[in-house]
C-alpha cells in the first residue's frame, strides 16, 4: 500500500494491531528452525563449540547497525519529508537497537573469554560496537531529557544523521587504532572465510533476529503513537478545563 496512507496514525495503529500477532508467530517459527540449525551445526575446527555464540553475536551486531539505519532513514523522514510517523519510528528504534548492540557486546565478551582469557579485549570490531552503543545511549538521553516531543524528535534526528556519517569514520579510525598498537589481540573475530555448514545457520539466525526486530519495532512504534495520543488528550483536558 502507498506509504502515504500509512501516514495516518489511526490507520497505522489498526494495521499494526493486525500484523503484530502474525509477525510474532512467524518470528517464533523461524527462531525454532534457526535454533535447531544452530545447535546441529558442527564445531568449528579452531574455536570449538564456542562458535555457537557467534550465532548470537553476529546478528546482534547487524541489528545494532540496522537499528541505526532505521533511525537515519526516520531522521530523513522527520527533517526532509516531514513524514508524521518518522519521529515515532525513530524514538521506537533507539532502545531496540541499543538492546541488540548490548547483546552483541555481552555475547562478544563471553565468546572472547575462552579465547583470550579476559572478558574484554579492545578488538577493532568489538570497540566499534561499544562506541555505537554509547551513541545509542546518547540518542536515548536526548529523548529522555527534552520534554517537547517535536523538539526532541528534531534533535534526535540530527544526532542520528551525524552519527550515521560518523560511524564509518569511527570504524576506520578504530581499526587503524587497533592495528597501529597491535597489542594483545592475536585472534581476529570470526575468521575471513566462514564454512558453509556454519554460514547457513548463521543466516537463518540473522533472519529470525531481523523478524524479531521488525516485530518489536512495530509494537514499540504503536506504543509511541498511543503515548502521543495520551499527551494530546491531556493537553485537550487542560485546555477544556481552563
Amino acid at each position: 500500500m502507498a506509504i502515504i496512507n500509512l501516514a495516518n496514525p489511526s490507520r497505522f495503529l489498526a494495521l499494526a494491531t493486525r500484523t503484530i500477532p502474525w509477525l510474532g508467530g512467524l518470528t517464533l517459527l523461524v527462531f525454532a528452525f534457526a535454533i535447531n540449525q544452530a545447535m546441529s551445526a558442527p564445531d568449528d575446527y579452531q574455536q570449538g563449540a564456542t562458535v555457537k555464540i557467534m550465532f548470537l553475536h553476529v546478528p546482534g551486531a547487524w541489528l545494532g547497525m540496522l537499528g541505526w539505519l532505521v533511525m537515519t532513514v526516520a531522521a530523513l523522514g522527520t527533517l526532509v519529508w516531514r513524514h508524521p510517523l518518522a519521529d515515532v519510528v525513530a524514538k521506537a528504534a533507539a532502545p531496540i537497537g541499543a538492546a541488540f548492540t548490548l547483546m552483541c557486546l555481552v555475547t562478544g565478551s563471553l565468546w572472547g573469554r575462552p579465547m583470550w582469557g579476559t572478558y574484554w579485549v579492545w578488538d577493532a570490531r568489538l570497540t566499534s560496537m561499544l562506541v555505537l552503543f554509547l551513541l545509542y545511549l546518547g540518542v536515548i538521553a536526548v529523548w529522555r531529557t527534552v520534554e517537547d516531543p517535536s523538539r526532541a524528535a528534531r534533535a534526535a534526528a540530527i544526532l542520528a544523521l551525524v552519527g550515521a556519517l560518523d560511524l564509518p569514520i569511527i570504524k576506520f579510525s578504530v581499526d587503524w587504532w587497533n592495528t597501529l598498537h597491535q597489542g594483545s589481540s592475536i585472534f581476529r573475530m570470526g575468521g575471513p572465510t566462514i564454512d558453509p555448514s556454519i554460514l547457513i545457520p548463521l543466516l537463518i539466525m540473522a533472519l529470525a533476529f531481523t523478524l524479531l526486530f521488525a516485530t518489536l519495532l512495530l509494537a514499540a512504534t504503536r506504543n509511541e503513537i498511543l503515548r502521543r495520543r495520551v499527551r494530546a488528550m491531556r493537553l485537550m483536558q487542560a485546555s477544556a478545563a481552563a
Binding site: 575462552p114 491531556r234 485537550m236
Partner: protein, 70 residues
C-alpha cells in the same frame, strides 16, 4: 586456545540473549498495556469531572480530532 567445549560460556551467552530479548518483549507489552489503560481512563473520565457532560460534549469533537492527528 584448544578447541575445548566451553559449555558454560555458550549457555551464558544464550542466557544473556534471552534476557535481553525478554526484557525488550516485556517492556513493549507492559508499556502497551499501561498506555491502553491510561487512554481508556482518559476517555472514560472525559475531562474534568466537575464540569460534567457539557465540557465533555463540547470537547467530544475536539477529542475525536485529537485522536486523528495525534
Amino acid at each position: 586456545m584448544l578447541a575445548a567445549n566451553h559449555l558454560g560460556y555458550i549457555v551464558a551467552a544464550y542466557v544473556a540473549a534471552v534476557v535481553v530479548v525478554g526484557a525488550l518483549v516485556g517492556w513493549v507489552t507492559l508499556d502497551y498495556r499501561i498506555l491502553r489503560r491510561t487512554l481508556a481512563d482518559l476517555e472514560r473520565r472525559g475531562f474534568s469531572r466537575r464540569s460534567g457532560s457539557s465540557a465533555a460534549a463540547h470537547a467530544g469533537p475536539a477529542l475525536k480530532k485529537a485522536r486523528e492527528d495525534a
